[in-house]
């Protein structure tokens, strides 16, 4: 029998294994503890140009998580929100999306603000089989069984705004929109609804997001002499349009209807003399005076103060999107992606601040209320409501009941 003579290498190896095991032990233990809380991912821009939208959304999802935890959590476990600030940078969206899916292993991700950010992260969550909620109003057409879109689409809002404008002010429309996918597609919808209503589109103009001078456009609009200007301008640079429009004395001459104005904080930041009279259509307004809405805004303001920007549809849909997901988990009795998806597809509904919000199986969008409102002295005067509006635009091209394997965004062929 050979005497036991450990080689140097062998000794080092076993030492390393032992040390590794000792180091790993607390990690394993910590993991076991952490598994008690359900992790929910959130990807929102809290800084940069889109930061003011993201802050209100981040506030309402935190409120939703806190309320859920106060009520006993989900499946008997507490819920923990994992949020990354994407800083208005698409690159960070992709990076943090992978981190949420692979490192944090979250049960669901709520987030994305611009359509560009959504299309950056949606494939990531598809690839790593993570359930994804996009809670923002957008141009419509996303058809993906692993994704739910809870904001309004053009059929729900633009289709209310344009007919109102044509009936109230006349049939000639001049369309101005931001030059990226949201503005381009929304402008097409505006054009379609104008023609459906028997009107004419005099011109459609697109503006890169860094345009700040609108004098030439204001002259061109006057030259055309429309009965209404339809605006899908986006971002703080484009706010300059409304100010230069008012400075030229045009505000009381040609009315403006918009699908974007006031979504962020415009109503508070520009003067009433510049904003009064602008008409918009969204799925929610902070001024909505139903008991559910008042309770919601009170809770948000009590928790986050008056410094928080306007509570728009974005913030409300984020809150409702989270609640829809939580209902899905309750119904499924599981966090499994497929089980939760199937539970949500049964047509789960919640009563949110905006009213009843119901998941539509065929499109993975929602049936929800839409409202028309007019800007008056830094507030929105909600003067019309349309209950239970279906996402008819996306429904025209997307049927996930028949084709559950689809994962794409249809660019809806709007007849122009």
């Amino acid at each position: 029998m050979r005497p036991f003579r450990p080689s140097r290498r062998g000794l080092l190896q076993s030492a390393a294994t032992l040390a590794g095991g000792a180091l790993a032990a607390p990690l394993v233990a910590r993991h076991a503890l952490a598994a008690d809380a359900i992790k929910v991912g959130s990807l929102l821009d809290l800084s940069g140009p889109i930061g003011s939208s993201g802050q209100a959304m981040h506030a309402t999802i935190r409120l939703a998580v806190d309320e859920l935890n106060a009520g006993g959590g989900l499946l008997g476990r507490q819920v923990e929100l994992v949020n990354y600030d994407t800083q208005s940078t698409i690159q960070l969206y992709s990076q943090y999306a992978q981190q949420l899916a692979l490192k944090d292993k979250v049960a669901v991700v709520h987030g994305g603000i611009t359509s560009a950010s959504r299309e950056a992260i949606r494939p990531v969550f598809d690839r790593y089989a993570t359930l994804y909620f996009y809670n923002v109003l957008y141009e419509g057409g996303v058809c993906d069984r692993d994704c739910f879109c809870t904001g309004t689409t053009p059929a729900q809002t633009v289709n209310k705004l344009v007919p109102y404008a044509l009936e109230t002010w006349g049939k000639k429309a001049y369309i101005i929109a931001a030059d990226y996918n949201y503005g381009q597609i929304t402008a097409k919808w505006m054009g379609k609804y104008v023609r459906d209503g028997g009107g004419t589109v005099q011109a459609t103009e697109f503006f890169p997001l860094d345009v700040t001078e609108f004098a030439a456009t204001i002259s061109k609009i006057q030259q055309a002499g429309p009965s209404v200007v339809l605006s899908a301008l986006v971002g703080s640079n484009h706010t300059a349009f409304y100010r230069q429009w008012a400075a030229a004395g045009m505000k009381d001459k040609i009315p403006i209807a918009s699908t974007t104005f006031g979504l962020v904080n415009e109503i508070a930041t520009i003067a009433p003399s510049e904003s009064n009279g602008v008409v918009t259509s969204y799925g929610y307004y902070e001024e909505l005076s139903t008991p559910a809405s008042t309770a919601f805004t009170k809770a948000v303001r009590a928790k986050f103060g008056d410094g928080l920007p306007y509570i728009s549809e974005l913030a409300c849909a984020t809150y409702e999107g989270f609640k829809l997901w939580a209902e899905g988990v309750k119904k499924a009795g599981s966090l499994d992606r497929m089980k939760v998806t199937e539970a949500l597809e049964t047509g789960i509904a919640v009563d949110g601040p905006s009213g009843k919000v119901t998941i539509d199986h065929a499109t993975h969008h929602v049936v929800r209320n839409a409202y028309l409102a007019r800007a008056a002295e830094r507030k929105w005067d909600v003067f019309q409501s349309y209950p239970d509006q279906a996402p008819a635009d996306t429904a025209a091209v997307c049927d996930l009941i028949k084709e559950p394997k689809l994962s794409k965004q249809f660019v809806i062929d709007v007849k122009t």
Binding site: S47, G48, P49, G51, S52, Q55, D179, E205, F206, F207, P208, D210, V211, T212, E213, A215, A216, T217, I218, S219, K220, Q222, Q223, G235, S236, N237, H238, T239, A240, R243, Q244, A246, A247, A248, G249, M250, K253, V264, N265, A268, T269, I270, A271, S273, E274, G307, P309
Partner: protein, 293 residues
């Protein structure tokens, strides 16, 4: 006829905006060869000074014409003392330093005021050219731009300070030998350029979307104008503003805003190809304007 008048007025306004955006940068770059990448943020600080002090009850005119240039001028003075003076002659380093500064300023303003701030609206209202409405405030913008350019020119041409500044720029060692402190002149020039940026930001605040990131929308146009203008600060910036302003305005009016931007960039490209040192630095115009300021 009225339409022609309106277009001419719009062109004048567009030129005036370019002069406002770029003159401060031109003074700093033209005099000291310091590329101030935080120029857009200097404009933003001017706008914020105006908006915040006007909201706090200060008279709008005082806020725009006094508070904004004063505050940003002092800020520029501090920046020059703290960073820039160590970096003269090191173009890449100054670019890096001022770029870092721009990020820091955006972050600071966001932290203090949030991502949105309550703006001030333009005074005066509109007036009509024929059947077309346009803004009286544009007259004011044009007047301030003209006064700014004339002011800088007069100071450089006729005052003792202007003479010393020009001498220092031409040959700092010789100026120092004659008893001038180049350090002092650099500091004052940087502060002057900053103050001009602050004034421009203040004057544009009522017709812009005021936010911490607004500088980003201005900076490219300001740089193109200054580089297109060449070494003569006032004449160069003025001529380049005139050229680029007219081209982009006419292109925007007769085609689309997208093409308006493309036309401006194309014009700048062609011009830099023909006149690599800018309008006042090369070619026939360079020879004609050799002695201009």
């Amino acid at each position: 006829m009225a339409l022609t008048g309106l277009i001419l007025f719009n062109i004048a306004n567009s030129i005036a905006v370019l002069v406002l955006l770029s003159l401060g940068l031109g003074v700093i770059y033209g005099m000291m060869r310091v590329i101030n990448l935080a120029h857009g943020e200097f404009l933003m600080l001017g706008a914020y000074t105006t908006v915040v002090s006007a909201n706090a009850g200060l008279n709008l005119w005082v806020a725009m014409l006094v508070a904004a240039p004063l505050a940003v001028g002092l800020f520029g003075l501090a920046v020059e003392r703290l960073f820039i003076r160590f970096l003269y002659g090191r173009i890449i380093d100054t670019m890096l330093a001022t770029w870092g500064l721009s990020l820091a300023v955006v972050g600071l303003i966001t932290t203090i005021f949030g991502t949105t701030v309550r703006g001030v609206s333009a005074p005066f209202g509109g007036f009509a050219i024929g059947g077309y409405q346009t803004s009286v405030y544009s007259w004011f913008v044009i007047a301030v731009a003209a006064a700014m350019a004339a002011g800088v020119w007069l100071v450089l041409r006729f005052t003792k300070f202007g003479l010393i500044v020009r001498a220092t720029m031409q040959n700092p060692d010789m100026a120092a030998a004659l008893g001038v402190s180049p350090q002092w002149i650099y500091m004052m020039t940087f502060a002057l350029g900053s103050a001009l940026a602050g004034l421009a930001g203040g004057v544009l605040a009522p017709v812009s979307g005021v936010s911490p990131v607004m500088g980003g929308a201005f900076i490219a146009r300001a740089f193109i104008t200054v580089l297109g203008g060449g070494p003569a600060i006032v004449t160069g910036t003025g001529l380049a503003s005139g050229l680029f302003g007219s081209i982009s305005e006419v292109a925007t009016f007769f085609t689309t805003p997208v093409f308006g931007q493309v036309a401006l960039l194309l014009a700048a490209l062609v011009m830099i190809r023909i006149l690599p040192q800018g309008i006042t630095g090369s070619g026939l115009t360079g020879r004609l304007l050799r002695r201009s300021l």
